[in-house]
C-alpha cells in the first residue's frame, strides 16, 4: 500500500471494559491520512475512552491501534513520536510556567534546544499566550490551559493530532485562531482528529466524521455522506435518538406560582 493510502489511524475491534460497564464495544474506524476528522457522540458514548486507547494513555482489552500502519501497543516509542495528544479532563504539570511546559513537551519528544525555543515562541504568539509565558499554568484560566495544552501537543510537529474537546472553554477569537492553525496543518498533509459536542463546528470544520454512541460506531465517512443532505445535528439526533417531546416540566415557568 503506498504511503499516502495508509490510514493515519486505524482502529480494529477495540474493546474496553471498566468494571461492569463496557465503555467501548468493538470500534472499527479508519481515519484517512490528511483528513480533518470529527468524532461526535452523546455524553458517555466512549469518545474519550477510544481516543485514550488510540494515544497510548489507556490499554485496550482487545483490538489493535495502527498509526500510519504501525501498531501503537506493540511499538509504543516509535508510534508516540508521530502522535500529538490533547486529552480531556486531566491535569498538566501546572507548576511549570507556560513556556516551561511547552519546552518540557518538546524536549520529551527529543527536539533540540534551539528548535524547542523557536517553536515555543511561535506557539505562544499564535495562541496569544505571550503575555503569560512566565506565569505558572496553575494560575491560567480554563481556556488558557486548553491552549497551552494544545501547544504542547503540537510542538513536536506530529503527523497525527488527537484532540479531545479542544474548543471547550476557549473564547471565540482563540477558537477561530486555533481552527486556522489546524486547517493549515491539515492542508500541509497532517491529520487531525477532534472530538466535540458542537455539531455545527464539526460540520463546518471537518471533512470526515464518525458518530459514536454506547461504545459503537453508528456512522462514519465524509461529512457529506454521513449527514446525507440534512444538517449534521439533525442526522446525529436521528442516529442517536433520545430527543424529548418538549412537553413536561410545565411547572418550569417563571410566571407560574
Amino acid at each position: 500500500m503506498p504511503e499516502e493510502l495508509t490510514p493515519a489511524l486505524e482502529l480494529r475491534g477495540l474493546w474496553r471494559r471498566f468494571g461492569q460497564k463496557i465503555a467501548v464495544a468493538g470500534i472499527d474506524l479508519v481515519v484517512p491520512a490528511g483528513s480533518f476528522y470529527g468524532l461526535v457522540g452523546p455524553n458517555g458514548a466512549g469518545k474519550t475512552t477510544s481516543l485514550s486507547m488510540s494515544t497510548g494513555l489507556l490499554k485496550p482489552d482487545f483490538g489493535t491501534v495502527l498509526v500510519h500502519g504501525q501498531d501503537l501497543w506493540a511499538n509504543p516509542l516509535e508510534v508516540k513520536r508521530m502522535l500529538g495528544v490533547l486529552p480531556d479532563g486531566v491535569r498538566l504539570f501546572d507548576r511549570l510556567t507556560g513556556e516551561q511546559l511547552i519546552t518540557y513537551a518538546g524536549l520529551l519528544h527529543g527536539l533540540d534546544r534551539a528548535t524547542v525555543a523557536h517553536r515555543a515562541r511561535d506557539l505562544l504568539v499564535a495562541l496569544d499566550l505571550t503575555g503569560d509565558a512566565g506565569t505558572l499554568v496553575v494560575e491560567y484560566s480554563a481556556g488558557m490551559t486548553k491552549k497551552v495544552a494544545l501547544a504542547c501537543a503540537m510542538v513536536h510537529a506530529p503527523r497525527l493530532l488527537v484532540l479531545d474537546e479542544p474548543f471547550e472553554a476557549v473564547d471565540p477569537v482563540s477558537a477561530a485562531n486555533i481552527r486556522d492553525i489546524l486547517a493549515s496543518y491539515v492542508a500541509s498533509g497532517g491529520t487531525v482528529i477532534v472530538s466535540s459536542h458542537v455539531m455545527d463546528l464539526v460540520q463546518r470544520m471537518c471533512d470526515h466524521v464518525a458518530v459514536i454512541a454506547a461504545g459503537h460506531v453508528l456512522a462514519a465517512g465524509t461529512v457529506d455522506d454521513v449527514r446525507g443532505g440534512q444538517s449534521l445535528e439533525d442526522r446525529f439526533v436521528e442516529l442517536v435518538g433520545g430527543r424529548g417531546t418538549g412537553e413536561g416540566l410545565a411547572w418550569l415557568r417563571t410566571s407560574s406560582s
Binding site: E78, V85, T103
Partner: protein, 520 residues
Amino acid sequence: MVAHLVQLKLALVRNGLRRSPWQVVGLAFAGLYGLFAIVLVVGSLAAVSVQTPDIRGLVTVLLGSVIVLGWWVVPLVSFGVDATVDPARFVTFTIPRRSMLLGLAIGAVLGIPGVVTVVSALAIGGVWWRTPTALLVAPACALLGVATCIVGSRATTSASSHLMSKRRVRELMAAVTLVPLVLIGPLIGRTSASSAHLTREALEQVAAVLGWTPLGAVWAVPWEVAAGDVAGAAGRLGVAVGTLVALTVVWDRALAHALVNPLHEVASTRARGLGWFGRLPATPLGAATARSLTYWVRDPRYALAIAIVPLLPVLLWILNPGGSSLLFLGPSAAFFFGWGVSADVAYDGSAFWTHLAAPITGLTDRLGRVIGAAALAVPVVAVYSVGSALLTGRPDAIPALLGVSYGVLWTAFSGASIVSALVVYPVQQPGENPFQTRQGASMVAVVSQLVGWSAVLALSLPVAGLALYAITEHSSALGWLAFVVGPLLGGLLLFLGVCIGGRLIERNGTDLLQRIQSFA
C-alpha cells in the same frame, strides 16, 4: 435537614466501600484498631476507678485533655479533617447555617475516631460510678467534651485553611508545627528517664492547671463535684461552655467566609526564562530531571515529605545530648530523602499522562525523578555526615559515615523507584486545601510504605553493620571499606531499582494513570 446531612455522610461512606475492596480492608483494620483503643481506654479507666489512693480526677483530666488536644491539632499537621461531606458543596442550597453546623458535627462523629472518642468520653464519665453526685454530671460533661473535640477540630482547620492556602505560609507552618510534635516523644522519653520520680503531686498540679484551661475544664467538672466544691465545679463548667461557644463562633464565621470565598491558590509566581529547563541538557532525561527539580522547589508537598530532615539534628541532640547518636544524622537524612520520591507518581496526579504520551522509556521517567531528588540530597547528606562527625569529635568516622549514608540514599531511591511505579494512592492535588484527606488512602499507603521501608532497611543492613563496627572499633581500614562498599552496593541496587521500576512503568503506567483518575 440535620438528619439529611447525616444520611448523606452514611451514604457516601457506603458508596465508597462499594467502590473498592481496599476501602473495606482499610475500614476493617481501622475498626480493629479503634476497638483495641476502646478496650485499652475502658479497661484502664475501670482499673483507675477502684484505685487507692484516688487518682480518678488526675487521670480523667490528663486523658481528656490529650484527647481534646489531639482533635484540635492533629488535623492541622497530618491527617486533615474528614472531608467526606464538604461544606463547599452546599453553597447553592439554602440550608440554615445552624442546621449545617449541627449536621456536619454529628456527621463527624460517625467515623472510627468519633466513635472511639465518644466511648472514651463516656468511660471517663463512668469512672465516677462510686461517687453518685459526680456521676450525675459526668455523662453530660462527657458529651460536652466530645462536642469540644469535634467543633474544635473544625474550627482550627477551617479558620486556618485560608491562611494556609498561601503557599509560603503553609511551608513555614508545616515546619513550625512539626517541631513540637516531633520533639514531644524524645522529650517525654528524656524526662521520664532522667527523672523517674515524676511524682503524683507534680501530675496533680499539672492536672489542676489543665482543669482551668479549655482543654481540661470539661473533664474537671465531675472531679470538683466529687470533691464537693460547687463553686469550683461551676467555674470549670463556665470555662468549658465558654470554650465550646467560642469554637462554634469561630467555625461558624470561618465557614460563612469560606462558602462565599472559595479557596484558591494566591497568584504570586512569575518566572523569567526557562529555569532548570534551560540549564540541564536538552534531552528527554534532562527535561525529566528539570521538571522534577522545579517541582521540588515549587511544590510544597515535596517539602512536606522531607520536612523532618532539617529537624533531625535537633531530634538526635535531644535524644542524647552531646552523645554519639548524632552520628546517625547522615544515614537517617539519606533515608528520608531517598524515600521522598516514593509518592512521585501520586503527586503528579493525572498530569502523569504527559510521560505516558511522550516517546520516553520508563527508565527515563525513573531516572529523571531520582536525579532531581539526588541533586538536593547529595549535598545535604554530605554536610550532615561530615558535620555530625566533626561535632561529635570523631573525624575518623567520616569515611564510614559517608559510605553508609550514600549506601542508604541509593538503596532508598531504589526502593522508592519501584514502589512509586507499583502503588499510587490519593494524595492532595497541587493547590488543594492541605487539610482535607482523601478517602480510603490510608491502607494502601500504609502497607506500601511499611513494606518499602522494611526492604530498604534490610538491604542497608550489611553496610550499616560494617560502618557501625568500623566506627565503634575505631577501625579506619574498615571505615574506608564501608566508604567503598556502601555506595557501590547501593549503586548496584539503584541500578536494579530504576530498571525494574522503569519496566513496571512501561507495563503498568496506563493502569496507574487510570487509578489516579478514579480518585478524582
